[in-house]
Amino acid sequence: MAKLDQDAPVFSENRVKALIETRLDQRGPLVEVLHALAEEFGYVDERAVPIVARALNLSRAEVHGVVTFYRDFREGPPPASVVRLCRAEACQAMGAERLVEHACNRLGIGLGEHTPDNRIGLEQVFCLGNCALAPSALVDGRLIGRLTEERVDAILDAAAGEAR
């Protein structure tokens, strides 16, 4: 997941249409279109749903259903920095649950939440494919292995600093 560019373009109907247009020749393009929207705007704005539906000859309900099914498609602007902590078994075996608790306590938020200023979002993820160097996290798209509490602190400090 790309780190949110502070200058992410604001929603524009024409831009949405242009992003759809270049994908119309693909088979079953809906997920691809939503990825493109998420990459461009940081999330899938609900105003895009009817535009996408019309262009792909789908119902709005179908498009909404797909947007809400997949974790990658946010429905609102993402936090400036997203820290995704792996909670799958290999990371559990190396103390991932303690790290999750530590991060939550430090930020005063739960998994799936973000700080009140929307600077840091904390999310759980099940497996990043780094299972021999557990515990792992994906911080704004960057994979980090052999995570420790100290490392988590440094990551959160950096994220808070950068966002300022």
């Binding site: 997920v31 691809e32 997949y70 990371c91 190396m94 497996c127 494919g129 160097l133 798209g141 292995g145």
Partner: protein, 518 residues
Amino acid sequence: MTPVTVYVPRDASARSVGADEVADVLARLAGERGIELTIVRNGSRGMFWLEPLVEVDTPAGRIAYGPVSPGDVGGLVEAGLAGGAPHRLRLGPTEEIPWLARQTRLTFARVGVTDPLSPDDYEAHGGLLGLRRALAMEPRAIVETVTDSGLRGRGGAGFPAGVKWSTVLAAPTTDVKFVCANADEGDSGTFADRMLMEGDPFLVIEGMTIAALAVGATEGYLYVRSEYPDAIATMRTAIEIAYLQGWLGPSVLGSGRAFDLTLRVGAGAYICGEETAMLESLEGRRGVIRAKPPLPAHAGLFGRPTAVNNVLTLAAVPWIVTEGAAAYQQLGVGRSRGTQVFQLAGNVARGGIVEVAFGVTLGELVNDFGGGTRSGRPVRAAQVGGPLGAYVPTSSFDLPMDYEAFAAAQAMVGHGGVVVFDDTVDMARQARFAMEFCAEESCGKCTPCRVGAVRGVEVIDRIIAGQDAEANLELLEDLCELMVDGSLCAMGGLTPMPVRSVLTHFIDDFHLPQGQRA
């Protein structure tokens, strides 16, 4: 003087512990000292406890150093890294490291050896031999070769690949057939698909192309999970290069036979690793599984005959076609033929990729290759085959890695992922997590999985809390039976496996009152 070639992996795991920084410092220091270096960002050799692993080409072969931190680089260069000089991090010739030397790397032969995005390197190390041979064969003959090799699906289910391909080949279609590679590697403890896509992407392309030739498909889709940004980037570039090389497109290697390959990215749904959910996702829909029949081989992607295979299954094929079915079939035990790319993960001292023939025991993998736990504490259990696989106690570590032997022990080999736990693990909590994970990731289509998993968490919570433990254990067993029998796919159908393995082998962790289910 020709520049010395130094290898620093580009693999995501190696990067997760500083490989990029090592490469940067190396390039800078070499520049400052006027040492001519060519830095190749190779795949990982799969010895992750030694990452970042730096190798240097010498007249005596490649010499390895590791694990190298950015701070070590200065000393290494000073000591004479470019000449393979002694240093406390020097591991000797890479190929002679016993951990590696003991393996039989067929699928992973090039991973860590070559520059992943160099087509010349690929061909120089045996790439395209399988494809060239396949182009000279009748489709039926390719399918027979794969059938005779005994290759079974490496994604976990272990279905004979040749039988699947034969069905797709025979299936009538009015227009198009598809090949889909499943790289939605969502199971914890697995990273072989990722490593292969990052370390030898052309092999994935070659395997898919041979599959297409075998079943009569002209279009292929590679479905990669979005949690693998590096693999996505490398595969995208590799596909572009393959088109430029004429390995893909309207006339594969000038044969006049067409194969077009498209990469699609998942969107954060574990269930899309289930083949029919993956097909739905590829069609642009919610990743909800389909009831079978019809089989994807008859009516798969967009209702057309489709061969859906795991990345590792497809990647095994070029070797099989090149070396012959008999050579592959000679390896392994029982009905588990060839090699499996085992993955050692979790609390393990020497984690990584162990590609060996089937038949190696779980204990050999965990103790001999893995070196026991990373924490140094005794091993308590290993979960084999992902989140839906059983927790195997050390008393069963003499089990051979063999589909049938594991099934007989109420466990599964699956994709060969092995997650090691030490004696601090609370197995009751692991059983609970199995249900929690299913509740989180269920697609919601069938009730046993959607509701059963939620009820499973609740009933396990009651057992852990000591509420009417005996009756709740009975209820849990009943629920497990229902999920196994009534679920539409493996998500709900196999979630009871880890739960039941805990009840069978680690019941003590529930701290039941005296006399109950002792």
